[in-house]
Point group: none
Chain length 199, copies 4
DNA sequence: AATGAATGAGGTTTCATTCAT
DNA sequence: GATGAATGAAACCTCATTCAT
């Protein structure tokens, strides 16, 4: 019973995520979400009081999925750099396993997305930022050295995102393997751009 | 005469940019844009055939402003690193001098913004990416060393953007001076995160 | 179920016919049609995608009503002249039983009505012209004698229409009974204006 | 001076007639009429206070043109039948010499045209109906024999109109010469459809 | 519980008309 | 006198939401 309700709720959210990701909030259509979910329009409203609530539930799922995914990285018994790699790979994997949610995440994380900013912001308060944690941890352990660890974490996040083609207007390194991307990024983080001349 | 028309056109675009940046395309209201521009609703339609056209004209202005701003950097007679600095400062300055346009730029540059993707994409084909050019130039001159110069340019861009508080859901280094941010970034680019332990 | 939908569709069309007949297409108002139908504005759009489509559906109904009405005349076992009479009476009767549809019919049949000419023309391709058929039949049987039977049919049609007061700017024979009108017309068709002098 | 003003007024009316005939009142556009007249939009309003007034002036011109055209027929020293012929030819000639005005005339004369019915009706009060006059005269002289001379005039009018292809949804006798049409009509008026069998 | 027919607020767009130049 | 830029009322249409079945 309860499971079935919960399952249907998830189905709706998944379809909604596809719509919201593809068309944005305003151009997404409750009717179409219902049809594509294989249920009646009125039924949507048994699960979500309003379109806005459905949107927020979808964004909550974004947060949950990301937290779920990054949950165990911090406790891995590996070097901070290894953790960074694992974390990057996790993010890259989202492109295949949950693109709509990835798009919604990025739209909020990096864009001044105007859809219910306050409410979404409140949800994202709970979003773990593993890159930040790793860098902070690394700094504590003496592995990394930066005056702004938290910010460094966000910078890494933004760089990884940059290399996810589906999220970019101009796709970058489309045909490069994830391993190479990770290597590229790690190298960059380790050595900067190697400005010998200035050193 | 003609100047006056062009001036009014610019006024409308500026107000529109504010609206689009704040509320997004769909929730922006031609009526309100007219009122805030101090002109009649119908007048908007003398300058722009449709709301969509106004939006695209606004996005074209975004491209123009950014190109205008970065035009002369590449030809400066300074080291690539200095150029990077100048370029970063330019970007930071947008926050004060043209925030709505900066927001619209970022919304397209980093978000999968679904509003007229194809048309906006076509406009952004003409957008210069000075960071990319500088890195490429630096690689040629031997100052920088990276297998993916273009991509490195975009990564720098995304990092600078990360440090512009107005563009971030969670503002970073809000009270840090631009000079320090530039220094932070340049240092990062030069030395990575100084992972001595791994070296 | 289905019947109820169909019934409501017919109701809308009837109200719409009244509006279109009275005010013309452009000055008819979906809102008002809705109100007069006792339903909401949006409901109209459940039955007809656009105002134009409602108009065309109304014109289709015109064709259907006229065809329905004239269906059985041709097969009557009476002389062509008798058929003409029956047919005239049918037309006269429309004034009382479906004036709006009669007006819309005449507006298209005799006026260069500019509302969606091509589309309406396509609909009227299916409109039976019983007067034409009767004259053709009569010519074949030797009852009538005219070089242009089809055209003669249309001429009769136009004459009958002329004697329907509701369709004329200057009402003719307003207080004359239909029987007398029919007699007048039949006499004219049989004998013309009896120009003895010229004979 | 005055002549020039009057001339320009006529030009506007002619262009307006074309627009009104082609698109109907509501879909005709003052701006377009101005442009096609080669004058400014505001200038139209120096000649006609409103669009409606321009329309009514155009319809007044219709009446004037028709009256002008039929003025001298009644006084011709020929038989009523000959007068009918001349009158028919006059009407046929309108198709080539003033089609827009002919269309506007027919739209009002035979259709329940809803554009300013009362006002247009008032104008048409002054419209001569030569066919009616001729028949009445013919009846007086004993040439014609009909209980409803006025109505017979209108019937003839409607028949002639039927044979003007530009006025009909389904053009009739498109490739038949006017002379033959006149002959056809005159014969019909004289002898009807020659129902020998019934005689 | 599930449905989808019905609703009407709200926003874009057109165009007759005005008026400052 | 002539102009056309500016205006805003009005109408079509969409779609989130409700509710009777």
């Amino acid at each position: 019973m309860k499971n079935e309700k919960e399952l249907r709720r998830q189905t709706i959210i998944e379809i909604a995520a596809r719509e919201f990701a593809e068309k944005g909030y305003d151009n997404s259509n409750i009717n179409e979400i219902a049809t594509m979910s294989g249920i009646g329009k009125g039924t949507i409203y048994l699960y979500f009081k309003t379109k806005k609530e459905l949107y927020l539930a979808t964004m909550q799922t974004v947060v949950d999925l990301f937290n779920e995914s990054s949950k165990n990285v911090l406790n891995l018994e590996v070097t901070p750099l290894e953790k960074l790699k694992v974390c990057m790979e996790l993010l890259f994997r989202f492109e295949e396993e949950g693109l709509p949610f990835l798009i919604l995440w990025s739209r909020y994380q990096f864009q001044n997305n105007p859809d219910f900013q306050d409410e979404v912001h409140a949800l994202f308060k709970d979003l773990e930022q593993p890159f930040c944690n790793i860098v902070k941890q690394g700094v504590k352990e003496g592995t990394f050295n930066t005056p702004y660890p938290e910010e460094a974490g966000y910078l890494i996040l933004s760089m990884v995102t940059m290399l996810i083609p589906s999220l970019q207007a101009k796709p970058l390194l489309e045909n490069v393997s994830k391993e190479e991307k990770v290597e590229f990024l790690v190298n960059l983080i380790q050595n900067g751009l190697s400005c010998k001349a200035i050193n």
